[in-house]
């Protein structure tokens, strides 16, 4: 009994998942770091003090936490995207091998 060849739809799904994960995580990562830089600039320009009221302080805190979470989410997503791309390559290799053995 020979194993079934992976369907083309599965390959397309793997490649689509890899592209979406890698590209999306890169976008999220860059956005998160940019926000972190903006927050950093804000703190540096005000010598670590918030000149406004309590709402400004909370807004800056929220932005800092949000950007940190963005980066935290982006990193494993990118790694998962690379693994999906490697999996798609593996499925291609499996298809090739089974096709040549069947001849």
């Amino acid at each position: 009994m020979s194993p079934a060849r992976p369907q083309r739809a599965v390959l397309v799904a793997f490649w689509a998942l890899a592209v979406v994960l890698v590209a999306g995580s890169a976008l999220v990562f860059v956005t998160g770091v940019q926000i972190q830089l903006e927050v950093n600039d804000f703190w540096m320009s005000n010598n670590g003090q918030v000149s406004g009221d309590e709402e400004d302080f909370e807004r800056i805190q929220w932005l800092a936490t949000f950007s940190y979470q963005l980066v935290q989410v982006a990193v494993p997503a990118a790694a998962l995207g690379f693994v999906a791309a490697l999996g798609a390559l593996g499925l291609h290799a499996l298809r090739w091998e089974l096709a040549h053995r069947a001849r």
Partner: protein, 166 residues
Amino acid sequence: MSEQGGTVDPRFDPRFQRGYDPAVHAVPSPEPELSPEPDPIPEVAAFAPVARAEAPARADGFEQLGLVGALPVEERAPRRTNPYRVALGVASVALLVLGVVMIVVALQPRNDSVSDVTTAVWLSQLTQYGPLLALGPLLAGLIGLLLWVALSAIAPRSPLDEDEGA
């Protein structure tokens, strides 16, 4: 015509030319004499499905023609390397090297008095990317290798594989 008067074109078999006379143009032929009665067509269904079914399932063209014994092993077409498997290995190693390089670069001692905060922030983020980039392909490669060995064990082996293993 030049064939008139018993002359035949010497380039071709005189038996199939106009004006052929067996007494004049008795040329010894390497081919066997043709019988006046054509041989009956053997009742072999050349294109019948039964004849195809009798051929071995994995025999290649040389085996079907009975030329396997006549050809030395070196003249058989070599088995091609799976290009996707090579690409998989190259991509895994490249990602692994990239991850290690990112870790090494991020851990280089830096001058803390540097005023470029942007560089410092980016480098601190790269320290998070490096281990995952290094570990992900490593795990994927190991799992893929295990999967490959398992599938190779249950997949039918071709005669060429057995020849190469011998």
